[in-house]
Every structure is written in C-alpha cells, then in structure tokens.
C-alpha cells in the first residue's frame, strides 16, 4: 500500500515535471518562417518556437468590444478566412466570442478555452496590461495565444500588428512630396489616450518637423469617426480658411465631406482606408484630391490565425510580427480591386496581404454577413 502511494506520488510528480518542461515556446535564433509575411518588428525582436504537433487544430477568437464596423468586419473576416480551401483542413473547431469591455470576462473566456483544450487563441485585448496570468496559464498548457491590433505591453507572447508610427511617417512623406516643404496643414487626430493615435501622430510629426520643413500644423481631434472628423474639419475650415494639405487619421471620408460642403478646393491628403475615402479619391483626384490611403486592416485577424497555425506546426516565429501596411494612392486606386463602389462607405477596404498569401475578397466577407444576420 505504502509503495503504491509512493509510486502514485512519483508518477504525479513526474507528470507535473513533464508538463512544466513542455511549457511555452522556446526562444530561438532567426530567421523565421515566411520572413516576407511574418516580418519581425525590429532587429531586437526575439524568435519563438513551439513543439510541432499534429493538426487539425482548435482555434478560438476572443474579441472584446463589439459594436463598431471594424470589429464586425474583423469577425466576418475571421470566419471567411477559416473557410478558405487551404486553411479549412487545418482547423477542426473554430469559435468566436465577444466579451464586451469587462477584462475579467475576457480573461475568463481565454482561460475557459485553454481548459476546453483549444490549441490557439486569438484576441484583441481590452487593456494593454493584465494578461500575465493567462499568458502563464497558456504557456503551461502549451496553448498559442496571439494578441493583435490592441497589443499587450509585454514581450512574452507572440503578437501581430501594423506599425502605426510608420503609417504616420508615410503620411508625412506623402504631404511633403505633394505639398512641398512649407504650408498650412490640418491634422485630424484619433481617440485621445490611445497608443495608436499617439504613434501615428509622432510618426507624422517626425517627418513634418524634420529639417528643411516649415509647416504650420493645426491639430483637431476627430476620434477616427466620420461624423466627428467631419465636424471638427468644418470648424477648422471656418476658423482657418484654407489648408494646403490634410492628414486625417481615421473617419477620413468625413474630413473630405467637410471640404466638399465648405467649397474648399481639394488638396493632397493622407488618411485611413475606408471605402468612402477611396471612392472620393477615385472621383476627385483630377480636381486635386491627391490621396494616400493606408489601412489598419480587420484582415489582421487572418494573419494572426495564420501565425498561430504556423506556430502550432513548429515553425520559428518572431515574437512581434509587423504586418506590411496595405497602401494605395490616387494612381493605384481601382474599383473592384482595392475599393468597391457598390459597397457601403464604412467598409474597410484592405483585406489582402499578398506576401502572406492571404487574400479575402469583399464579396467573401459580405457573404459571411448574410450568414450571420
């Protein structure tokens, strides 16, 4: 009896030890898998590798807030992506939940999926901190956790995002190229206090305030929403009269609408990737709306799922993945390719990432919408 108990305890201890040994990814040397798609954030980005395992896998998306068009399109994109021919065989179960703004509920949902034996969990965190506990739990259970979009302030987990600072730099360079090195510029900012707003702003200013430039920049806050952005642009036009160029972080179609309403001539502009803005660029570029449209794509969810699946198969992955920024300008904008004249203005256009082999067309996403409603 005593021996049996010792044996049982030994066995338990060994299982535990083995479990601990398996825990989480190993930090390895690069280069990583598909380096053109999974671009490391910078030279210091570490590389992770998990034990390869056999598919098909169980994958869950734990969304936080739901209720703006971007999030809804993100969910539809995720569903469309996992139905693709090359992805479907890798996935046995796919689940999406939205937990609202409650951190406990989001962490709980992640923990629940870990307990249910899911292999990978994709999430947009409701807060940049607070995930240490679930990261630990995920590592212990060998679950691949992938935060994207609103990423976490940690380097212990694989994350996916676009470089927001670079978007600001790009926009600044566009205005310098098309306005010149001096003039009066309107900057329409996003949600105050958000890291995305801060990074885009700093990137933009780094170019505009660089050597040889002499711009007068007027700053207003448009919250990334077309309505707000239209209102603050109209106010700025009423006060300042004329601008030589505009950078509108988001809700860009509202900014253009305000120009049209005020009878302001079209000027070079940089902004987000709303379908409405691209329609406007296509329509008014000959009248001077020299537009650049970059996109924080809801399609990031597809890249995140792809990253998770690659990690599960044992590929070497960068800890922080920088997804190439999808950009079009007034010369490359094309109906049916990177914007859709028959779709609503608030549809987010960039959904394909050729370096990653991820292309989800607008009709595919829209088809998901019908299935849901």
């Amino acid at each position: 009896m005593k021996h049996a108990m010792t044996a049982a305890m030994l066995a338990t201890a060994m299982t535990f030890a083995a479990g601990a040994a398996l825990a989480g990814p190993k930090t390895v040397d690069g280069p990583g898998y598909e380096p053109k798609c999974f671009v490391p954030w910078n030279d210091e980005t570490a590389y992770f590798q998990w034990e390869p395992r056999e598919g098909p896998f169980k994958v869950a998306v734990v969304n936080g807030f739901v209720g703006n068009i971007w999030r809804i399109q993100m969910i539809k994109t995720a569903k469309a992506y996992v139905e693709k021919e090359d992805v479907a065989p890798l996935i046995s179960d796919f689940k999406v939940v939205s937990t609202g703004t409650d951190a406990a509920a989001q962490l709980g949902a992640i923990e629940d999926f870990i307990n249910q034996g899911y292999d990978a969990i994709i999430t947009i965190a409701v807060s940049p901190t607070g995930f240490d506990r679930v990261i630990r739990l995920a590592n212990r259970n060998n679950v691949v956790l992938v935060p994207f979009d609103n990423v976490l302030d940690t380097d212990e987990v694989m994350q996916v995002n676009e470089d927001q600072y670079e978007m600001g730099v790009m926009s600044g360079e566009w205005l310098v190229d098309h306005v010149g090195h001096a003039g009066k510029i309107l900057e329409v900012r996003g949600l105050p206090g958000n890291s995305v707003d801060r990074d885009r702003h700093e990137g933009f200013r780094s170019v505009m305030e660089g050597d040889g430039n002499d711009f007068e920049i007027v700053e207003v806050v448009g919250n990334w929403a077309p309505g707000d952005s239209q209102k603050v642009t109209a106010d700025a036009l009423a006060v300042h009269g004329k601008f030589d160029g505009i950078f509108s972080q988001g809700g860009t179609n509202g900014t253009v609408q305000a120009l049209i309403d005020a009878g302001h001539p079209f000027v070079p502009m940089a902004g987000e990737a709303e379908n409405g803005f691209r329609k406007q660029i296509a329509e008014h570029s000959k009248e001077g709306l020299l537009g650049l449209s970059y996109g924080q794509s809801p399609g990031l969810v597809a890249i995140s799922i792809k990253a998770a699946l690659s990690a599960l198969q044992g590929e070497t992955m960068p800890q922080l993945i920088s997804v190439p920024i999808p950009v079009v300008n007034f010369e490359t904008v094309e109906d049916g390719v990177n914007y859709w004249s028959n779709l609503p203005d608030d549809f987010f256009t960039p959904n394909d990432f050729p370096p990653c082999g991820v292309t989800i067309t607008a009709p595919e996403i829209m088809a998901e919408s019908e299935a849901n409603n």
């Binding site: 999406v96 609202g100 703004t101 951190a103 406990a104 962490l107 807060s127 240490d132 302030d153 206090g193």
Partner: protein, 348 residues
C-alpha cells in the same frame, strides 16, 4: 415539513435564483468537453469580482437605495491596489489591508453624504462614483503597474498551486484541487455577512428598507444602520477591486468597465431575489444572481455553432441573447408579486 415550506416560501427569490443557476450551469457542464476542477477554478475567477460588486450593491438596495458608485469604487481600489500591492512578502498583506480600508472609507463617505447630506443614495453615489473614477484616472492615467507575478498567480489558483508556487506544501490530492475563490467568498460571508445579519444593526437595515418611518417609530437607529450598510458596501466593492488587481496583475482606470459592473451589479441583485424596494433579500441570493449572469456567457463558449442551438452562439447575436435571458431571469424574480394576496407579505 412545515418549517421547510415556510423557509422556502420566505426565500422564494433565493430558491428561484439557485434553481436558475443550477439549470444554466448544468447546460454548460453537459456541453463542456473537459469539465473538471480547473473549469470550476476558471468560473470562480471570472465570477468573483462580479459577485463581490453585487454584494456591495445588495447592502445599499436592502436599505432601499441604489448605489451607482460600486463599479467606480472597484476601479479605484484596483488602481490603488496596483500601487500598494506592488511589493513582495509582507508589504502585499499591508497593501491588501490598505485596499480594504480604502473601500470601506469610500463607502462610509457615501453613507455620510446620504445620511447627513440628506441626499438620495442614487444621486449621491452618481456624484461620488465620478469622484472615484476621477481619482482612479489620476492614479493610473494609462493602464499599468505590475504586482508580483507569483503572488497574482498563486492566490488566484487552487490550494495545490499556492503550495507549489511558494514551496509551502506538495500535492495535497483532491483537497489541493479546491479553488481559492470559493474559499475567499465563504470566508467573507461567514466572517462578515452572517455575523452582521445577526446584529441589531443588521436587522435594523432590513427594517429601514421595509419602512423607514415604522423603523424610526420602533426606535431603530436609522443613521447608524445606513452608515453601516454603505460602509459594508464599500468594503465589498473594495474586495472586488483587490481580487481584480490580483487577477489582472495591474491597474486600469477603465470607465466603460466600471459602468458595466455597476449595471450588472443591479441585475445580480434583482435575479438574486432582493427587492429593489428594500427590506427583503440578502447577499446569498446575489451570489447566485451573479453566477446566473456569468453562466449565460459561459454557455456561449461551449455551444457548437453547427448544432441546433448554434444560432445562439453567433458572435454578433450574443449580446442580444444575453439580454433576452437576463430579461427572463429578472421577470421570473418579479413574477412572484403576481400571486401575492397582500403586498405586505412580500416584506415579511
């Protein structure tokens, strides 16, 4: 037998809440692919802060008020906790005590404004809620802070893990699998709520909620009852803040989350069978009310989308179904008013 019937009749709200919870949770358990103690642990983790905020709300509802500051107070204690609980060893214990004290002090302040300022609780706490959220934002303008990872991990886990993490004990068998969250809850109920319920002040709170005038005529110390109820509410909200801090390991002055907790706390109270008119019910019902609320969202995660019930799990329809089930749950609690012959019997 007669006593049992009597007990059930007098706690119909509680019985309904327990019944509803058992049904919903049974659905969840039956569909969960790997049900075990770790799932109970996860459920406890997700539910405990809401339960505690609901208990805080119950205290104020019992005396016939409504407290809109419970969510913001939890958030304030979370931000405060992310600072004072950031050390290691004994300083964490001091931090936890400081957080409890802050919660109780803020609750006491609410009570003073209501009692001595003679302002309705709902208005007074609307104002103080804004103050608490403002202070929370002042302490943590951006989410941050980091409390000791081992502490956060061990004390939001089960008994075994607590031992492993600190090397206090080895595998304790089935006993070690018991999650800590129910233990915290039982401790709070046994050490705080049950003794309080038996005191003259505790009974006085029920009397004040039933009929303040009658209580006054009977010599109940109304001011003392109200102050105690608010202070206890603050204490419970503070405990919620402490647990949230351990759970997320950091502080976040999240205004939408504070508002959500306040609203949900009212729902947990109603589902738990405490009358919004005051004077009837208790925190035990609220615990089950909160569990009902959480069970609804648990189910969404286990319903296979391809099944007959799959449409319930559609991510875009989840808030809708959550609302519908909530409405049904609240209506069940209210339904008993239809069959009473004399409204007074609800409050006896």
């Amino acid at each position: 037998m007669k006593t049992l019937r009597f007990a059930i009749a007098h706690n119909l709200g509680l019985v309904l809440a327990i019944g509803l919870f058992v049904v919903l949770y049974a659905i969840y358990v039956s569909m969960h692919p790997n049900y075990g103690m770790n799932v109970v642990l996860q459920n406890g983790n997700e539910a405990l802060a809401l339960i505690l905020v609901g208990m805080a709300q119950t205290m104020v509802v019992l005396i016939g008020g409504l407290d809109l500051s419970v969510g913001p107070l939890m958030t304030l204690v979370n931000c405060f906790g992310s600072i004072v609980m950031a050390g290691t060893g004994g300083s964490i214990v001091l931090g936890v005590i400081a957080c409890m004290a802050l919660g109780a002090a803020c609750g006491f302040m609410n009570g003073c404004i209501v009692v001595y300022g003679r302002i309705q609780p709902i208005i007074a706490t609307l104002a103080t809620g804004a103050i608490y959220l403002g202070l929370a934002l002042f302490l943590r303008p951006t989410p941050g802070g980091r409390i000791d990872g081992d502490f956060a991990w061990a004390f939001t886990n089960d008994i075994n893990e607590l031992g492993y993490t600190y090397g206090w004990w080895e595998d304790l068998g089935w006993f070690g699998l018991i999650p800590l969250q129910p233990i915290y809850l039982i401790l709070i109920v046994v050490l705080v709520w049950l003794p309080f319920r038996r005191t003259a002040t505790g009974r006085g709170c029920y009397a004040v909620g039933s009929s303040e005038a009658a209580a006054f005529m009977s010599g109940v110390k109304i001011n003392r009852c109200k102050l105690t109820a608010f202070t206890l509410a603050g204490f419970f909200a503070g405990c919620a803040g402490i647990y949230l801090t351990m759970q997320i390991g950091s502080g976040n002055a999240d205004a939408p989350q504070a508002a959500e907790y306040t609203l949900r706390s009212i729902a947990t109270v109603v589902i738990g069978g405490t009358s919004l008119y005051g004077g009837s019910g208790g925190v035990i019902g609220t615990i089950f009310g909160a569990l009902v609320l959480r069970s609804i969202s648990f189910i969404f995660r286990v319903v296979p989308e391809s099944s007959a019930l799959g449409f319930v799990a559609s991510p875009l329809l989840q808030p809708f179904f959550e609302g519908v089930i909530l409405l049904i749950a609240v209506s069940l609690g209210a339904a008993r008013t239809f069959r009473v012959r004399n409204r007074l019997s609800l409050f006896t």
